[in-house]
């Protein structure tokens, strides 16, 4: 297996970090990653996703000793202008404080997470990719949402990675804590530029204290030659609610891990997702919800549209722990395969150790409904337009549920643009 990177190589990278913050925590994380390496396909959770390309990018980056590209300011400003949010900007893993009005947004307290372990969700920090992130993050950010936060405009987290001059890699780490009774909205936007390969490894930890609520939209629109692994850990206390929607519209290899721990009674989460597969893309969503107590609710609803030689992976798991009575968990994953070369591995999983639970799951893989196409044609609509309408409608089911309604316009715009790319003959 080529996924091992030696501790020597990694330590060199550590020395290159600004301020050379070689804390115990970093060293521990570094050792953890060095011991394990990138996850391999023998591991059940990584069966369909081969990280050897990412390991190769990492090794090249580690040995090159190149300074990261400077921030692409024009691109950053354009991205910030596209969505009305209080932005916080990371460029190649560095926090650009001057371009981050979100750091001083009322109701938000921002601090460095130098120790990078302040809000870490217990037991969710020792997987190899989280360890790699913790070891090599240049800047960590900790956001505390105060109890009286009115959640006016969303807080935007923009990640712009550039690989213009050389192969590069970056780590982004954000810890978020919602005070009891607070409400907050987040939009996370991942973009990238550059001809060279890039690998981004992003970790967000979010702790929702009792009676807090959070609406969260993540949009990934990386260039086709750039890859990412992203992990979001959510820990939900009593009567807290999180609505999360993930839009994966770009990238080469994308792996998203979404871990939710429902640890307080009355906690609920809605997890929606939409992903597009285009030739050469690999898009893997792994979702796991742990119902530790009941009653608690989780609803997973992901949709994928795939065309050309590409692969989608969807694994949605709900674990209902002993005593989590009154759990309500649903998982749904629907996939539209627009070409015979596209592949999807979809698997809902349920593990139930409690009584009185309501669980339902369903996955489908199919083509456009020929009867529906015919129906539209009998109403005078061209076949190509009918296909476009139905493909758009398939995606709209997720878009229209956006936890942040103000984003509907931009989400629609982005989705339509992607639809035009993925099926030029079908979508006009």
């Amino acid at each position: 297996m080529n996924s091992q990177i030696s501790i020597q190589e990694l330590t060199r990278a550590l020395h290159r970090l600004p301020g050379t913050e070689q804390t115990t925590e970093r060293r521990r994380a570094l050792q953890l990653f060095a011991d394990h390496g990138f996850p391999g396909q023998r591991e059940e959770d990584w069966k369909y996703t081969d990280l050897s390309s990412i390991a190769k990018i990492s090794r090249t980056w580690l040995s090159a000793d190149a300074e990261p590209d400077g921030p692409d300011l024009a691109r950053i400003h354009a991205a910030m202008a596209s969505i009305d949010a209080a932005w916080i900007v990371f460029a190649n893993g560095s926090l650009l404080r001057d371009l981050s009005p979100g750091l001083s947004e009322p109701g938000v307290s921002a601090s460095d997470a130098v120790e990078l372990d302040v809000v870490a969700v217990p037991n969710r920090r020792d997987d190899p990719l989280s360890a790699l992130n913790r070891a090599l993050s240049r800047d960590g950010l900790r956001l505390q949402i105060k109890g009286d936060n009115a959640a006016a405009r969303p807080i935007g987290i923009l990640t712009l990675d550039a690989a213009q001059t050389a192969v590069s890699s970056s780590q982004v780490r954000v810890d978020i804590e919602l005070a009891p009774g607070s409400a907050a909205r987040f939009v996370e936007l991942h973009l990238s530029t550059g001809e060279h390969e890039h690998y981004s490894n992003c970790v967000v930890n979010l702790v929702a204290n009792p009676a807090s609520s959070c609406d969260y939209v993540r949009i990934q629109q990386r260039d086709i030659n750039h890859s990412q692994t992203a992990r979001l850990n959510l820990r939900l206390q009593q009567d807290s609610h999180v609505r999360h929607a993930a839009f994966d519209l770009g990238g080469k290899l994308t792996r998203n891990d979404l871990q939710v721990d429902l640890v307080g009674q009355g906690a609920s989460c809605v997890l929606d997702g939409l992903y597009f597969g285009v030739p050469g893309r690999h898009i893997d969503n792994h979702i796991r919800v742990d119902h530790c107590v009941g009653p608690s609710t989780s609803m997973q609803d992901y949709r994928g549209i795939l065309t050309g030689k590409c692969r989608g992976v969807w694994n949605g798991k709900a674990v209902v722990h002993k005593g989590a009575d009154g759990t309500d968990a649903t998982q749904s994953n629907h996939n539209l395969l627009l070409s015979e070369h596209a592949e999807i591995n979809a698997k809902p999983e349920l593990e139930i150790y409690a009584e009185d639970v309501k669980c339902a799951h369903g996955t489908t893989v199919g083509q456009l409904d020929e009867q529906a196409i015919y129906y539209l044609r009998t109403r005078g609509i061209d076949e190509s337009a009918a296909r476009r309408i139905l493909t758009g409608a398939f995606a709209a089911i997720i878009v229209e549920k956006s936890p942040i309604p103000e984003l509907l316009g931009i989400l629609n715009e982005k989705v339509v643009a992607e639809l035009q790319k993925i099926a030029p003959g079908v979508v006009s």
């Binding site: 109403r379 005078g380 609509i381 076949e383």
Partner: protein, 251 residues
């Protein structure tokens, strides 16, 4: 308006229509009746242009033009409307969007600009009132979660908005309670016009109590075995379809 001559049509290897002939003129209402499997729905689908059905002999012309090579959408724009026996549910496409797209497709074909948004809504609401439909249906997914009766009313709503020259209504009366049947019949009657022809495909004569046809045709084994005026419907009701099958096999 519609001339069908010795039409043969098959689905896969199975021939369903066998030498069917039918003439429908503007202003007329025709009812096509017959037992299950006689080819009624096939006839409706063949006129609308369903790909699964292949015309293997004979001809269909509409306003003097050969219909067979035309795609379903081209036929629709020429003025043919098919009301489905089982209207398709399309989640994610709202009813108003479909209606507008359909109306505009036809207008474009006629060399007209897109319908004004206000005018469209006014028209749609007007037609919905006539059909006793809640305006909220305009903003729901096409037929999504609609009851049987609501789906059929929705078909009639589309017909009313599109004002076709030839409307074929396939089993529009099936599964309707009496109120829905009356509303649907009212919608059909409102569209009766000297310039328009309507073909009602139905198994029962129930709808014909509310929409009086000028001509009734009985289909058996893929061809018309008997034609007559509305009294034929009552005769059928009294004697059943078996009586006709005897005629068919004798003839």
């Amino acid at each position: 308006m519609l001339k069908i001559r010795n039409l043969d049509a098959s689905i896969g290897d199975t021939q369903i229509l066998r030498g069917l002939s039918l003439n429908v003129n503007a202003g007329e209402v025709h009812a096509i009746m017959g037992p299950n499997g006689s080819g009624k729905s096939t006839l409706a689908q063949v006129i609308a242009g369903h790909d699964d059905y292949v015309v293997t002999g004979g001809s269909i012309t509409f306003k003097g033009e050969d219909l067979v090579p035309l795609a379903p959408e081209a036929r629709a724009r020429e003025g043919i409307f098919l009301g489905f026996q089982y209207p398709v549910e399309i989640p994610g496409v709202n009813n108003a969007y479909l209606l507008k797209a359909a109306v505009n497709a036809k207008r474009k074909h006629q060399g007209l600009g897109e319908i004004d948004a206000f005018e469209f809504l006014k028209l749609a609401r007007e037609k919905m009132t006539m059909l006793d439909m809640d305006p909220k249906f305009l903003h729901r997914g096409v037929n999504q979660g609609f009851s049987g009766g609501e789906k059929k009313r929705n078909e009639i709503l589309q017909m009313a908005m599109l004002e076709p020259e030839l409307a074929i209504l396939d089993e529009t009366d099936s599964g309707l309670d009496i109120d829905a049947l009356k509303a649907v019949a009212g919608g059909i009657n409102a569209l009766r016009d000297p310039a328009r022809a309507i073909i009602l495909v139905t198994h029962y004569q129930r709808l014909l109590d509310y929409v009086e046809p000028d001509h009734i045709h009985v289909l058996s084994e893929g061809r018309i075995v008997r034609s007559g005026d509305k009294s034929l419907a009552h005769e059928l009701e009294d004697k059943g379809y078996e009586w006709l099958q005897d005629i068919a096999s004798a003839g």
